[in-house]
Every structure is written in structure tokens, then in C-alpha cells.
Symmetry: C2
DNA sequence: GGACGATAGTCAACCTGTTTGACTATTGCG
DNA sequence: CGCAATAGTCAAACAGGTTGACTATCGTCC
């Protein structure tokens, strides 16, 4: 008797989300293993995207990830050591340091996005593009509605 | 179409899943804080449900969670110490030990299910019951199709 | 009916990532 | 100015997980 059995009735959404997340992240990093960004850790991708869209501070990263700023700082330390980002002084606030992508970071982002796009395409092949976008829209709507219009932090509380 | 770089343009599904999972788990445990099962750790719920549906072995739990059997054993140690489950000998295999719910485990499961049902109901209130079930069905379909018909492990690889 | 590889589980050591707590430097505001 | 609030770091402790080694039992093949 398998512990993964008894699945016919509605599987709890929490479990589905956990599996879906893990599934995507695992597949992504499995494929990245064969590229020049094989050392990418799971959390890196989120920071890379954030750094493309803006120039997040340590606190921004902490808020994005849902950790303390100390943990965010260490995460950035790692990414900096791996050459993906670097810290730059904030022109307007001498306390703050902003994260910027290095050339390697830009390249990594492009690779990640290409591979990730494939993964979503494979999902679309199963349920159809339309349902996939409905799913994205519904999820976004619920998360925003429960969070004052903003999106919550990403890191699973485990 | 909204301004470039905004979040309205497709948020990556991986991120949405991560946020959705965290959101549900956080809300669940926030509400459980005020019950008699305040010491429930995030992973416990999955094991409780598995132990309701069957009598999982340590290896079953490891497969369900996506960890090593050592980690699963430790998890069960904790649940046993907290009085939620206990290990019983397997009638057919002297090597195996099966997990069973204690009375407290059953009570906890009932509480968790009641609170969790509320959470899903709140989701349904935003997107509608129908779309929620479509979402559940689509997710289940994709995960199964990519996993030889079975559902994959739950624990996020982080 | 033994021998042997495979399987279930545990123990112990270690590793990684996160938190808690304390501290410095800068900012904004009364 | 004076001072609370904010941005960030350092350091120690912790939690949960992994790797590796080991025991006991099972199943199979001869």
C-alpha cells in the first residue's frame, strides 16, 4: 500500500501546489545541469528576475523571498561569489546597496528563461494554452486578493 | 496590455505555485496556532493524511515527502514524540514498521481538515467553485502525465 | 534448506540555510 | 540639533536534511 495512494477524490490544493512547484524547479535545474549555469541554486532564479526588473535592495530580496534580511544577505553573498550579481551603492541612500546583474547574470537569466519557457510549453501541451493561462490568471487573482493587491513571498515555509 | 515589466504579464507558474503553497500553509498554521494542535509542523499534515488513508511505512513517507528515509524517520520521530502517530509492527514483514494515528492524531487530522476546508472555501469565493475544481483537475492531470500516472513528491527542493 | 543479494529501518556525523540577537551607519522628522 | 526608524552586516545557535555505515529480515535461486 503506497502512501501516495487514495488520490481519486480531490487532492488538496496545497499538496498540488507543492508538487507542481517542486516538479517545475526540479525539472528546471535538471536541465540547467547541462548548461554553463549548472551551479545555479533554486533560489537564484527569483533574484535574477527581480534584478532584471529593478535593482532590489537586500530588504527587497528578503521581502520577495519571505526570509529575514540576514538570510537574504547571505543568499546574495552566494550569488555574488558565483558571479551572477554585484552590489552597487544607492545614489540616494548611503545605507542601501542595490543588486545588479553582472554579464554572467544576464546570460544566466537568458538561459533560465529559455529552459523555463520550454517547461511551461510542456505544461501547455497537456492542458492547453488556454487553460494554462486561466490557471495563471486565477492564481494571480487569488493571491493578490488575499494580499492587498500585491503578490506574497515565494519561499515555502517548511 | 499593461506597461512593460509589470507583474500583470504572466507571472511564472513556478513562482505562483510557490506563493500559493506558502500562502495556504502559512494561513493554515496561523489558524491552527489557536487550537489544541498548535505544535503541528508544516510537514505533519501530509503524513497525517497519508496515515488516515493507509498505514505508511517509513519508506512510504520518504517517497511521499521526497526525502531520504532517514529524514522521514526523523520526521516520524517528531510526530511520535508529539503524540500524533505511533509505529506498529507489520504483520507480514518483520523489518517494516507501519505508522498509525493515535487518538490525538485523529483529532488533529479532523481539526486540520476543518480549517483547511475553510481555506479552500475562501479560494472558491474569489475564483468560483468551478474554476477552482478546474484548477485542481488541470494540476492533477499535468502532474500525473509527467509522472507516469502517479503524483510526485511534495517537499519543495529548496 | 542454505547462501546471498535486496530491502526496511536506525544511528551517528556532518552540512547547508535560516533564525535570533547585537551592533554600526545613515536617514528623516520633530 | 536630537532621536527613533531604517539598511545592512557579523556571529552564534539551530533545524532539518544528507551521506555513510550498520543490523535484521526477506525473497529467490540453486
Amino acid at each position: 500500500m503506497s502512501a501516495a495512494g487514495g488520490e481519486e477524490a480531490g487532492v488538496p490544493l496545497a499538496r498540488l501546489f507543492a508538487m507542481a512547484f517542486r516538479s517545475l524547479i526540479d525539472a528546471l535545474h535538471a536541465r540547467l545541469k547541462e548548461t554553463d549555469v549548472a551551479d545555479l541554486r533554486p533560489a537564484y532564479g527569483f533574484v535574477l528576475v527581480a534584478a532584471r526588473d529593478g535593482a532590489p535592495s537586500v530588504n527587497d530580496v528578503a521581502a520577495l523571498m519571505g526570509t529575514t534580511k540576514q538570510a537574504a544577505s547571505k543568499l546574495i553573498d552566494g550569488m555574488e561569489a558565483d558571479g551572477y550579481v554585484h552590489r552597487v551603492a544607492d545614489a540616494a541612500d548611503a545605507r542601501a546597496r542595490r543588486i545588479r546583474l553582472t554579464p554572467r547574470g544576464h546570460a544566466a537569466l537568458r538561459t533560465v528563461e529559455a529552459v523555463y519557457a520550454e517547461l511551461e510549453a510542456e505544461w501547455a501541451r497537456v492542458v492547453g494554452r488556454e487553460r494554462l493561462e486561466a490557471l495563471r490568471g486565477d492564481l494571480t487573482a487569488v493571491l493578490r486578493s488575499q494580499n492587498g493587491g500585491r503578490l506574497p513571498a515565494v519561499r515555502p515555509t517548511w
